[in-house]
Symmetry: C2
């Protein structure tokens, strides 16, 4: 196991005070020994396309050379996939890098960042690390975006909207995102890391709104979390202006080769996304039968909301070598975020949850 403690010793006196106060983002546990059912970090249970592994096997002596500064030919392929011109796309070392560049480039210590909550916890870390003012408005009880959010976000320089949202898995429809984008004067960045598992996304908004940015990831639907590939798409002048903030060679030749090969086998990605969607519906039904409330998910994970602190269930599952995610915040304390694994993994999880419920382990039922 690789526990990632947030406890720190004394801070270095060379750090900026704001940085020394940062708690940091705690990613989910990554066990290094085999045998775990790993449903805690929203990885794809199916391997990447064989073409990706072939492309990596073909990498040769050119690894001695720097990659293309704009990650060509991958940038062009992503642009074509999105139906955009290449200068509207920036490729990143994972979409996390692009989120960081976007916040540093548009917000800074004098601006405001608005997010609905609960959401991807990285957004808060990015706000803290730049000193940005953070406006947080809770999602409604049904995980829709309340009108109060538009008002709170109206003067922010940047709105970050994970859509589908994590950890709820829910989607704000494109029509509602458009209303938001027209109500605010800053940028609206729609983080579509999970969009390939959803019915539809917000791509169309790029064609008619000058203040919308999309983020995409190869980590989930393309089964490439280990390769670190993300993309940002937006107005060409914004993309050009953010370019000096990225490292000159931020995407490796290996990531470029992997990403290009993945896009050459879209059928592989779509088949896996279909299987995950089918398993997701079975998982959601199974969890509801056990007494959990499960918001309708359009991602590759679900949120299972119980009636008491879910930490004991998390621990009981961990004792059985099943990892799920528990967030220690008021709205999420009674919930677990569970990645959609294979059908076999899902069966094992549901059986364990049923057993835990029967022995009175703090379950939902």
């Amino acid at each position: 196991m690789s526990p990632r403690s947030t406890v720190r010793g004394p801070r270095s006196g060379f750090l900026r005070p704001e940085v020394a106060r940062l708690p940091g983002y705690s990613p989910g546990e990554q066990p290094s020994d085999p045998g775990w059912v790993k449903l805690n970090t929203n990885e794809n249970p199916y391997p990447p396309s064989p073409r990706v592994l072939e492309a990596l096997r073909a990498v040769g002596p050119d690894l001695r050379l720097y990659p293309h500064p704009d990650a060509e030919p991958l940038r062009g392929r992503i642009a074509a996939f999105l139906g955009l011109s290449p200068e509207r796309v920036m490729v990143g070392n994972g979409s996390d890098e692009l989120l960081s560049i976007l916040v540093r480039g548009t917000v800074g210590s004098d601006g405001g960042l608005a997010i609905p909550t609960p959401t991807y916890t990285l957004y808060e870390t990015l706000a803290a690390s730049t000193g940005a003012r953070l406006s947080q408005v809770p999602f409604a009880a049904d995980w829709s975006l309340p009108e109060a959010f538009d008002r709170a976000a109206s003067r922010a320089r940047l709105v970050l909207l994970a859509n589908p949202n994590s950890p709820s898995g829910t989607v704000v429809p494109a029509e509602r995102v458009e209303v938001l984008a027209r109500a605010v004067r800053g940028l609206v960045a729609v983080d579509e890391a999970y969009v390939d598992f959803a019915e539809r996304g917000c791509r169309e908004l790029l064609d008619r709104l000058p203040n919308v940015v999309l983020l995409r990831s190869f980590s989930k639907s393309f089964s490439l979390a280990g390769a670190r590939i993300g993309a940002l798409a937006g107005p060409a002048d914004l993309v050009a202006g953010l370019r000096p903030l990225k490292d000159s060679y931020n995407v490796s030749r290996l990531a470029i080769a992997a990403g290009v090969a993945a896009l050459e086998d879209l059928a592989w990605m779509r088949r896996n996304a279909d299987r995950i969607r089918a398993t997701r519906e079975r998982l959601s039904a199974g969890l509801r039968a056990l007494g959990f409330e499960v918001p309708p998910s359009q991602a590759n994970f679900v949120l299972a909301i119980g009636r008491a602190d879910a930490r004991p269930i998390h621990e009981a599952l961990k004792a059985k070598r099943i990892l799920v995610r528990h967030f220690d915040s008021p709205r999420l304390r009674d919930a677990l975020r569970i990645t959609v694994g294979t059908d076999e993994e899902t069966d094992r999880l549901l059986a364990e949850l049923e057993r835990i419920g029967r022995v009175g382990g703090g379950g939902a039922a």
Copy 2:
């Protein structure tokens, strides 16, 4: 060819004003067609170890999983290579990423950054992007560090020292770096991207000075510019404090595999570094025979200083499909930075330079 224009169209109104003003770092040209003698970006002319390519061929379905957040087992291997404990090391997506994190973590808009000049142009870009005050003091005529630098740097929060320096290739001895580190109250970061081509480095200073940081790269001596692997080594509390500024999974599984394999074949790296050193001496002697002044280089490139603007030589070489680097700044206008290639490439370069000189092409002689 991939010309990287610094000319920009209108800037997006969503950018922070400081960011909209950034010129950006212009990396050297990366031709995509074969047949070029590429001596402009300090890449290694020899391929990476066969073990690296084998390790990449062995990458399999685990690519669907996120990498270790601290890039283990690579972090541990780098720490062992440097004779340090792992918590004193941070691995990055190239050392450029770590330089960016270091500047953001220690300087910010309220602090000062000091550099001797001319040096790696990224440092100036990083200062501009954070709004840091930049103190620049020229190297002495013999490329030693003048005492005036210590005074100018005394109150800076961070000193960045490329050592060996680019574009001069010269080294500031560890004893002189120690004097500097004891004279300033901020951090002194020694960027040792080229140290494997030098007689010795500053590793020893980490054992006795609390304000020294080293940066290392796998791009040059390990022939892995395309894989993006760098390392930062410093006090454990500083490394821990910088950690929230890095992306959670900043080093891919591919880079981890490549870096581990490269460190398992140090003999490969050292043999190539030896060959490059031998060629460097021959290149330096050849350039001096043509009338160029060549500071004693301890890197995998040399600076050839002529007596007139070297741009015409740069262009004449480019017409012969030989790329070298020309910097349009007062002290470097008459100079070319030339990467040490293979012996054959070096012969071809020297022959072309001699021909250009004979036809009166603005040469040094």
